[in-house]
């Protein structure tokens, strides 16, 4: 919600604290303030807060008055209220006739006719306020309706009274085949699930969402009908989604507004129309108010002892009562006291404090204690340790999952996490999403090995970069092998690269036997066992495998926890691998040789030599009787910011070769 500092100030008689002070106070006691910026509001300096209003306060705080009340309570500063506008109701103006077909959909409808207004330019202050929150000025009538919504949270609408066929405003479901053109020229096909405002012939507005062209006000409008109504949240939400129109009004209605708010909206709307669009001949009609089921006042009782019981901090009576007094003075609450029991009367617009959705759902003592606690300051609540209890039982699945992870890591496997939502699947047999993000990602994975196999091949391409002898990966995760909603299982899969010198099937069998031995899972339930020329994979159902095993008494101490890692982003550019072999005197070690290679690589900075691997060592006796050792290294080069050229790597290799050859007794092969 965009909130203008000057606009807030309009709601107070006294000078407000600075925008920065307000921001800090609001963050710690009410809402998250996502930003605060100085803005130029048509030549007037203003500050704009972007305040995150969560659904619990979307009933009363999507307007400046709601936020002003919060600030009033937090700083104990009185709100400046406009008295009721002093004007006679004209008997010449007929009361508008309103017919609400279903008050479940429209709990309240207020209408009023005003005659002889003058449409024109808005005053500078109004344009400035609207501009500060990003709204463009149209004319005084449109601006007033907008302004009152952004002030009170109550959406409003103004019809041109002279464009209405007949003299009745109907609030009814649309008929099949009915159509309406919106104010911005969009033709909407209506149906009986859409609630509309109509005259005797046509749709005038889609209730709570968007006005129509037929009775739109224009520069020539003289006589108007004001609407301040309440529409039920869920149907507004469904209609708005269906017709794809979301407005500031529909946004507010779909978060549920109190019907009582319509009164404040109508009063403010009337006052401003008279003040800013009035003529000497203006005539204001009576309000027609269709409100068949007003609610009672919500009362919430709490005991003094409930405060320490919930918050963990006691408040004396004086503190409690001074907090309640602030809510009463500035935010329409009321309260009374009977011994240690307090009863709070909640203002209608605070739907978050009202029981609307069944037992315990709202209107509970916790709701009021939250209000007292946050205004008093959560920073005043001490840090108290939790009572100590003995260790709970071991979770068998977790015990074995972590054990398997450790065993596999010790066997050279690295762990990957793949996506649960995948491409492959069979409609009607694989669990499918109703609303996937993309058509090629709509099924839940039925196994781990398919994705794991793909990731193995991907990693084999980077083998030199990884510097491993064999690429080995595994995953433990939840899969959905059956079409049953209860068919979710925990599986584990491993995948290894095929090597020329190794029988991949025998190697997989060896790993399974190590797993059995080290985890003491005797019966590993293998559901996939596959070897190809590139790779071998095994997948097993972990839950079934451990089903018959007893729950261990305590967790293993999982050894592979973090040493502090310094993460470096991965270069997206290709790497280049080059081999180099060198004869050296037998007393020289591989480390000595690499030290020289590393020094040679520094010819180019930053250093592009990012990995190396010693892959071959042998000792040879030469015809002259001398013995030399050959070390062969694979060197891997890569840049962070570009693709390396052959020449570039060549320069580095030349330097390394030259440096090796210049060392006593060294000879590059």
């Amino acid at each position: 919600m965009k909130i203008s500092y000057n606009w807030l100030q309009d709601n107070f008689g006294k000078k407000l604290p600075s925008p920065e002070e307000i921001k800090e106070k609001v963050i710690m006691h009410a809402f998250e303030v996502e930003s605060l910026d100085e803005v130029d509001a048509l030549g007037e300096k203003d500050y704009l807060f972007d305040i995150k209003i969560l659904p619990n306060r979307a009933h009363d705080c999507n307007g400046h008055l709601g936020i002003a009340k919060e600030i009033a309570v937090l700083f104990d500063l009185p709100i400046k209220h406009h008295g009721p506008a002093d004007f006679p109701i004209s008997s010449n103006v007929p009361a508008v006739k309103v017919v609400v077909e279903d008050s479940e959909l429209c709990p309240r409808y207020m209408g009023r006719i005003i005659k002889n207004i003058k449409v024109g330019e808005s005053p500078a202050w109004l344009k400035s306020r609207l501009s500060a929150i990003g709204q463009r000025s149209i004319n005084n009538i449109v601006d007033i309706a907008n302004y009152v919504m952004f002030q009170t949270s109550q959406p409003l609408h103004i019809f041109d009274a002279d464009k209405i066929s007949g003299n009745t405003i109907n609030i009814r479901p649309a008929k099949d085949g009915e159509k309406m053109t919106t104010l911005d020229g969009k033709l909407v096909n209506l149906d009986p699930l859409i609630l509309i405002i109509s005259d005797d012939v046509d749709a005038l507005a889609i209730a709570g969402i968007k006005g129509g062209m037929k009775a739109a006000t224009t520069a020539e409008t003289k006589n108007i009908i004001l609407e301040s109504a309440n529409f039920t949240a869920a149907p507004i939400r469904r209609t708005s989604q269906k017709i794809g129109i979301r407005t500031d009004a529909s946004f507010r209605f779909e978060h549920e507004l109190a019907p009582e708010l319509a009164e404040a909206g109508m009063a403010e709307l009337t006052r401003l129309v008279m003040e800013l669009a009035g003529t000497d001949d203006i005539e204001v009609g009576a309000i027609v108010d269709i409100f068949p089921s007003p609610r009672g006042i919500q009362q919430i009782s709490f005991d003094k002892i409930d405060i320490p019981n919930i918050l963990g901090i006691s408040m004396d009576e004086q503190t409690i009562e001074s907090l309640l007094a602030r809510f009463k003075a500035h935010a329409n609450f009321d309260w009374e006291k009977d011994g240690d029991k307090y009863t709070v009367m909640v203002p209608n617009e605070r739907l978050d404090l009202i029981n609307l959705h069944g037992q315990y759902s709202g209107g509970v003592k916790e709701d009021i204690i939250e209000e007292l606690g946050r205004v008093n300051g959560y920073e005043n609540i001490p840090f108290v340790p939790l009572s100590v209890v003995s260790q709970g039982p071991v979770n068998k699945l977790r015990y074995y999952t972590e054990l398997i992870r450790d065993v596999l890591v010790a066997e050279g496997f690295s762990e990957v996490y793949n996506y649960s939502i995948v491409g492959p699947g069979i409609a009607g047999q694989t669990i499918e999403l109703r609303n996937p993000l993309a058509d090629d990602k709509k099924y839940l994975r039925t196994n781990l090995h398919e994705e794991l196999g793909k990731k193995l091949l991907f990693n084999i391409h980077n083998k030199d970069l990884l510097g491993v002898d064999q690429v080995r990966i595994f995953e433990v995760g939840r899969v959905f092998p059956s079409y049953d909603v209860d068919g979710e299982r925990v599986h584990c899969a491993i995948a290894i690269e095929s090597l020329k010198k190794q029988d991949v099937i025998a190697e997989l069998e060896r790993i399974v036997s190590i797993l059995k031995e080290k985890t003491e899972i005797a019966d590993i339930k293998i559901i996939e066992n596959k070897a190809t020329k590139d790779s071998g994979v095994i997948e097993f159902d972990l839950e079934v495998s451990i089903d018959k095993l007893p729950t261990p008494e305590k967790y293993q101490d999982n050894s592979y926890v973090s040493v502090d890692t310094f993460y470096q982003s991965i270069s997206l550019f290709p790497f280049v691998a080059r081999d180099i072999a060198v004869f050296v005197p037998v007393e020289i070690s591989a480390d000595d040789v690499f030290a020289i290679i590393a020094q040679g690589s520094l010819v180019q900075l930053p250093n592009l030599l990012i990995n190396h691997k010693l892959f071959d060592v042998f000792t040879k006796t030469f015809p002259d009787g001398s013995k030399k050792t050959s070390y062969a290294f694979r060197l891997v080069f890569q840049a962070k910011n570009r693709t390396l050229t052959g020449e570039e790597v060549g320069v580095i290799m030349d330097k390394i070769t030259a440096l090796l050859n210049s060392t006593e007794g060294f000879q590059v092969r």
């Binding site: 320490p308 959560y378 977790r398 762990e415 990957v416 002898d469 060592v617």
Partner: protein
């Protein structure tokens, strides 16, 4: 001749590493580790957690719905564990749970349609917001160092009342202000609150007798901050150039 291959250890995924550390801290405090399914009914994901039907609070969590299985979703939070556990084991409870959750969100460097959450739940006759503050500060001090400070701010989640946002002093700059904490000195760590009476009631626990608190955090973000990982998608890339750094 080729050199004798030395045995090389593999690497755990960073989410595994950090979750092990954090879960261990909870186990040491007497918490029991429990799990709940990823494919979940609306009952446990929303209804019993005090999300009214057709309410915009459900929009806070863009939900994946299951086709042809009415009333089923991919869980949007691990909080689906709460009422499942209470129904089965009742009160008191002191549990920690961790797992994969799903949101129907467009993917970018900081958003994924799948991510991990860790949550804990304490239900007994005595716990208060003061205990929540005390316990959480102790947990994070064990994880990130004893200088770490914690503060709570008002927030809203349907299944708690009062609800809080949990901030920690930035463990990158020790609260002096850096890019990680956007120069505020504080990092938003997760949501918390006193368990809503409606949730206890739904779990068959009498809210007049029992109370407690819950705390949950988005784990991927925590891992990213801890290691300075710039893109959440690395976590699910299966790329050993990434994993093998840990």
């Amino acid at each position: 001749m080729p050199i004798e291959e030395s045995k090389q250890n593999g690497h755990l995924h960073p989410i595994t590493i950090l979750s092990r550390q954090m879960i261990k801290i909870f186990l040491d405090l007497g918490f029991t580790f429990v799990e709940a399914p990823e494919l979940e009914s609306e009952k446990y994901n929303f209804d019993t957690l005090n999300f009214p039907k057709d309410h915009p609070a459900r929009d806070m969590q863009d939900t994946f719905w299951i086709k042809d299985k009415p009333g089923y979703v991919l869980r949007t939070h691990v909080s689906n564990t709460q009422v499942r556990h209470l129904e089965k084991f009742g009160a008191p409870a002191r549990i920690v749970y961790f797992g994969r959750v799903f949101r129907s969100e467009a993917t970018d460097a900081t958003h994924e349609a799948q991510f991990y959450q860790l949550e804990c739940l304490v239900i007994d006759k005595t716990s208060t917001v003061a205990n929540m503050k005390g316990m959480l500060e102790a947990v994070f001090q064990r994880l990130t160092g004893k200088d770490t400070k914690l503060r709570i701010r008002p927030s809203f989640f349907p299944f708690v009342e009062p609800g809080f946002e949990i901030d920690l002093t930035c463990f990158k700059c020790n609260g002096t202000g850096c890019t990680t904490c956007k120069r505020t000195g504080w990092i938003e760590m997760g949501g918390a609150g006193m368990v809503h009476p409606a949730v206890l009631h739904a779990g068959g626990v009498d809210p007049r007798e029992y109370k407690g608190f819950a705390f949950g955090l988005g784990f991927d973000r925590m891992v990213m901050i801890k290691y300075g990982i710039e893109d959440i998608r690395h976590l699910y890339s299966g790329d050993l150039r990434f994993v093998n750094q840990f």
